[in-house]
């Protein structure tokens, strides 16, 4: 079952073409990371998804329903955390629970208090006396409390300490395992790669990549250091290696591709030592952010 479906989605603000034909389909239970630099179109995509903006052309659907003209009850199935979260000053966990209970038409106080306990947030403190991190926790609780089938989170870890970030990640994984779809927008690669199984990269209104994180890892460059044996003349590197630094017997390379090719190349060569780093996703993403995609 498809939770989110975007087809040739375009959005223009006057002469500015903010989204240039986004195609995306997310099945139920996806953990999707949506990343891109500031101004790339992440927030516009999210606002189209939530029916706050009308597409210039193309389609955006949630659970098969048109997001712009769809029934408001559709949003009972969606939890949303805005990127630049602003809350009413009288809100506390208890007050927000009271409002949500009335709006959603079912008791949510228990869920609010359980989540507040999980995120260690005092339920009685009003927003006016909250720190930024506390407000962010309340925003997350409001997005999660009604147990939505789709979670749209725009920069959710902003202002959260690493411990709380970890708790949020755990909770989102559990929700996804129970069938919820998570649309996780960020410009920080680390938090996306920790959580998401699939990643979309948006740049200048275009989705330049949309693939499983494992695939991206395979394409990411790694740093390779080989200390050649004394009686071995370091050979010219093959296509998948680029020599970056020469320290005599020690040679530093960047490697594209996976390990079997490297092992095949080294099979008949004498090596004293070798170290291979984790795939450098940061580098790969930076290459997407640059003017020309790889």
């Amino acid at each position: 079952m498809t939770t989110i479906q975007m087809k040739q989605l375009h959005k223009k603000y006057g002469s500015h073409h903010a989204l240039k034909g986004i195609d995306l389909s997310l099945p139920k239970g996806s953990l999707f990371g949506f990343i891109g630099p500031n101004g790339a179109g992440k927030t516009t995509t999210i606002r189209l998804l939530l029916g706050m903006l009308r597409p210039t052309s193309g389609q955006v659907r949630i659970f098969g329903e048109n997001c712009w003209r769809g029934d408001a009850r559709l949003r009972k199935r969606v939890g949303y955390l805005p990127g630049d979260l602003k809350l009413p000053t009288f809100y506390s966990v208890a007050e927000a629970a009271g409002v949500a209970t009335r709006v959603y038409g079912r008791p949510l106080e228990k869920a609010f208090h359980e989540l507040a306990e999980y995120f260690e947030l005092d339920p009685e403190v009003p927003v006016a006396r909250m720190s930024r991190g506390m407000r962010q926790k309340l925003g997350i609780i409001m997005a999660l409390a009604h147990d939505p089938e789709l979670l749209v989170l725009d920069e959710p870890t902003t202002a959260l300490d690493p411990l709380v970030q970890g708790r949020l990640t755990d909770l989102l994984r559990r929700r996804a395992a129970n069938g919820a779809t998570v649309f996780f927008s960020s410009h920080v690669l680390g938090e996306v790669s920790d959580l998401c199984r699939r990643v979309g990269i948006i740049r200048a209104g275009t989705l330049v990549a949309d693939e499983p994180l494992d695939q991206l890892r395979k394409r990411a460059r790694r740093r390779l250091t080989i200390v050649w044996a004394e009686d071995e003349t370091p050979p010219a590197p093959p296509d998948f290696l680029t020599l970056e630094q020469n320290d005599g017997r020690g040679r530093h390379y960047t490697m594209e591709g996976d390990a079997p090719a490297l092992l095949a190349w080294l099979r008949d060569k004498k090596v004293d030592d070798l170290s291979l780093s984790e795939p450098d996703l940061d580098d790969l993403f930076r290459s997407y952010y640059r003017e020309e995609a790889p």
Partner: protein, 269 residues
């Protein structure tokens, strides 16, 4: 029609302001109802001065002649500029807080994320505005009655007070409708309030200008105060047409505002 949760949220956010305005109107009406009759003779003698007479005529919507009756003096408590400014300020500030105020504050996203349609959000906000308007009128009437009672004055008869307050409530609806339309067009509360107060100040100025400069009379139909004239009520006429005009202005603006909101892109500011 309305959403209970959103109604409660709007109420909590406007409670302090609303109660302050209600208290203010109560106090003003109490004070004016108690004090104005004491100055009846002085005001009558002041009316011999043409400029003062023009000012009173502009406020009450009818030429008073050379003297002012006690009832006309009591009616002045319902057209005093301070009263009008108080009521207009309340309704304008309340009306522009959604959507313009919420968009400007960045809190409208959370409202739109709720399972409530834009029309229902608009209707809920309107219903609370109407409730505040009714409470404001009730506080005004209570202030007026208690003020007269406390100082042993007669005040306005109920048969006059009731249509005056209804006419004032129609004026409240007109200003509210205009403010909500402006709020749906603009994305910032400040800009919306600026335009609404511009319209209201123009109304006040036009109302006085008509008394001072004859040709301005042709434009008087544009002034909202042309449709709020307590003196005509004191003279025995029910201001049905005036109330209809004001209510229609409010309703048409409100309906257009609703359509604007329904089709509006909600930006991030």
């Amino acid at each position: 029609m309305i959403d209970r949760g959103l109604f409660y949220k709007c109420y909590r956010e406007t409670r302090t302001m609303g109660l302050l305005f209600c208290g203010g109107l109560f106090a003003f009406e109490f004070f004016l109802s108690a004090v104005l009759p004491m100055f009846n003779d002085q005001v009558s003698s002041m009316l011999e001065m043409p400029f003062i007479r023009v000012m009173f005529s502009a406020m009450l919507g009818m030429d008073l002649g050379d003297s002012i009756a006690a009832e006309a003096m009591a009616a002045f408590a319902w057209v005093h500029p301070a009263i009008l400014i108080l009521i207009w300020t309340q309704v304008a500030i309340y009306s522009v807080r959604l959507p313009a105020g919420e968009i400007g504050r960045g809190t409208f996203d959370l409202i739109l994320a709720m399972p409530v349609s834009r029309q229902r959000i608009y209707a809920t906000h309107t219903m609370l505005g109407l409730a505040w308007g009714i409470l404001l009128m009730v506080c005004g009437v209570l202030g007026s009655k208690l003020g007269a009672l406390a100082f042993d004055e007669t005040g306005l008869r109920n048969s006059i007070l009731f249509p005056v307050v209804l006419n004032l409530f129609a004026l409240y609806l007109a200003v509210g409708g205009i403010s909500m339309l402006v709020s749906c067009i603009f994305n910032r509360k400040g800009s919306a309030l600026g335009l609404v107060f511009g319209v209201l100040i123009a109304t006040l100025i036009l109302n006085f200008l008509v008394q001072l400069w004859g040709p301005a009379g042709d434009l008087n139909f544009l002034s909202l105060l042309e449709y709020y004239r307590p003196m005509t009520i004191i003279s025995g006429a029910w201001p049905v047409t005036d109330m209809l005009v004001l209510t229609t202005i409010g309703a048409v603006c409100w309906l257009i505002g609703g359509q604007v909101l329904k089709n509006k892109d909600i930006p991030v500011l």
